[in-house]
Amino acid sequence: MAYHTLLFLIVFLPAVVILYQLAGKKFRPMVLLAAGYVFFFSFSRWLFVYLIGATVVMYFAGIGMEKYRLMFKEQKKGLDRTAAKELKKAITAKKRRILFVGILFLAGTLLTVKYYNFFAENVTKIAAALSVSAGLPQLDILQPIGISFYTLQGIGYLVDVYEGKIKAERNFGKLALFMAFFPQIMEGPISRYDQTADQLYAGRRISVQNLTMGGQRIFWGLLKKIVVADRLNTMVGNIFSGYQYCDGAVIFVGAAAYTLQLYMEFSGCMDMVIGTAEIFGVTLPENFRQPFFSRNVSEFWRRWHITLGAWLKDYIFYPMSLTEGVKKAGSHAKSRFGKHGAKVVVSLAALFPVWLCNGIWHGARWSYIFFGMYYFVLILAGVIFEPLFLKFSERFPKLVKHPLYIAFQIGRTGVLVVIGELFFRAEGLKHGLLMFSHMIKNFHPSAVVTGNLLGLGLDVKDYLIILLVAAAVFVVDCLHERGVGVREKLAGMPAPARWCAYYVLMLSVIIFGAYGDGYLAVELIYAEF
């Protein structure tokens, strides 16, 4: 019952909307919670005990940590500063123990269901290489839907309570709803507790305004997903499975097409998700901000899958760079190599775990780890050569502000991203590397125009419609980049124009969608992670 299926769009969602509205303020959160569990159940059946287990652990760990926080507040009164510090230390240690157990449970579950087999396989391989006849058996473990997303939300909650950023939730239902809001379950966005919990629990009435704005965004997402992403799927699949027979330029087009597919698919799904939440008066955090206007890869990652990047920054990058060891290494480097040296050292230590996590979060495959390391190297190189760039821009202040130079930077970032996605999509790291070298060695730009692209499952009309919708998305992205609220503008137009726009949008999805006879249904890509 993914967000783009009829069952969700014309049965489940309307049913939830009606029940929610009828339920009245007090019971609305319960309707949402029940809807979340039904939604989860429809994918993973009884595996939803994992989700409930995670919620229970969060609930008690949160209250436990809160108890110590209050205890500290109570006992600190009348103590002098040193004694208060001592007390804080003692109590923090206890809180930390609870945090540790909580995270161990949440992360442990994720690691087991998602990575155990990968781990076992590699242990067995290493053992075989050392001619030791040991090894771990492969287990048949089912992965509940969305575990990669809700686990991060759960860990974020625990850390936030530990640090006193938020208060522990004493209402189990509210915490459960935070973990199981149905639009977010499959693909995120990953939200922090203080971002969504109160809104979810508010039980606001659905207004016509919410309904139209949400519906509008859902159809925009459907257009991206069903017309463009699903249409590209066959062509991308053909190039990636038969790259040996493709020209390098065609491979590059394939990798670019995959990048486009992923963007349309994931950002389209986010439009549907955020639009659905909007119907219930809930504002979810955005996951994309026109990523393809980025001038370097680190900016790209601040604009693409934003909530994952933010999570890694808050819960991996900062804690890592604030550990004693990293801080010491930083000040040591500062005294020997100066400020820039310190920055390089801290980056090295804090960015490595961030990008390792980013890569492996997508799944237990060497190619994903490589994908993470690819960005680690690129971003670290950016840090190392920063003084050079600074000098360059001081030397040529006019050039670096020239639109052509900016276009060059955007293009360069795009190419780097496409190469990254090539490794990401390839069937394993070995094929990724082979494919990349094949692309470099046999690169003939002319191959693209001599009709090689037409034997891949798409005809000229398919390409046309892809380009047309991609162009529409590009224009909308441009307007967003300039701060124009396209959706508000559209909703504010006089009725005839507005209606025409809505009709065109809805009919385009129905007519140009890549569904039905002759098309394979394409599952949501990010739901697999």
């Binding site: 600190k76 500063r81 208060a84 510090k85 804080k88 850390v159 936030d160 530990y162 640090e163 006193g164 950023k165 920054k313 808050d314 819960y315 990058f317 900062y318 804690p319 760079s321 604030l322 801080k327 930083g330 000040s331 400020k339 310190a342 920055k343 801290v346 980056s347 804090a350 840090v383």
Partner: protein, 76 residues
């Protein structure tokens, strides 16, 4: 406050810290700038800034940073 402004000047010059209230929101201070800021503040004022304090509200203006330092000093 004097001391804090000095630290800020050293990390990112050319910013009017007296008036600016969007140091984070406008990407004037990036993650790395904040990290060096945190370690400098830790040394200068003998306070521990935890990862949980790393939120935009605490770093958007010199005033906010100063308020955070005072709160931490009080908490010990």
């Amino acid at each position: 406050m004097e001391e804090l402004l000095e630290i800020l000047e050293e990390i990112e010059p050319d910013v009017d810290y007296a008036t600016c209230t969007t140091l984070i929101d406008d990407h004037i201070l990036d993650s790395f700038a904040i990290l060096s800021l945190v370690s400098e503040i830790g040394d200068a004022f003998d306070v521990q800034i935890a990862p949980g304090d790393m939120v935009a509200e605490n770093f958007n203006s010199a005033q906010a940073i100063w308020a955070m330092i005072q709160r931490l000093e009080e908490e010990g």
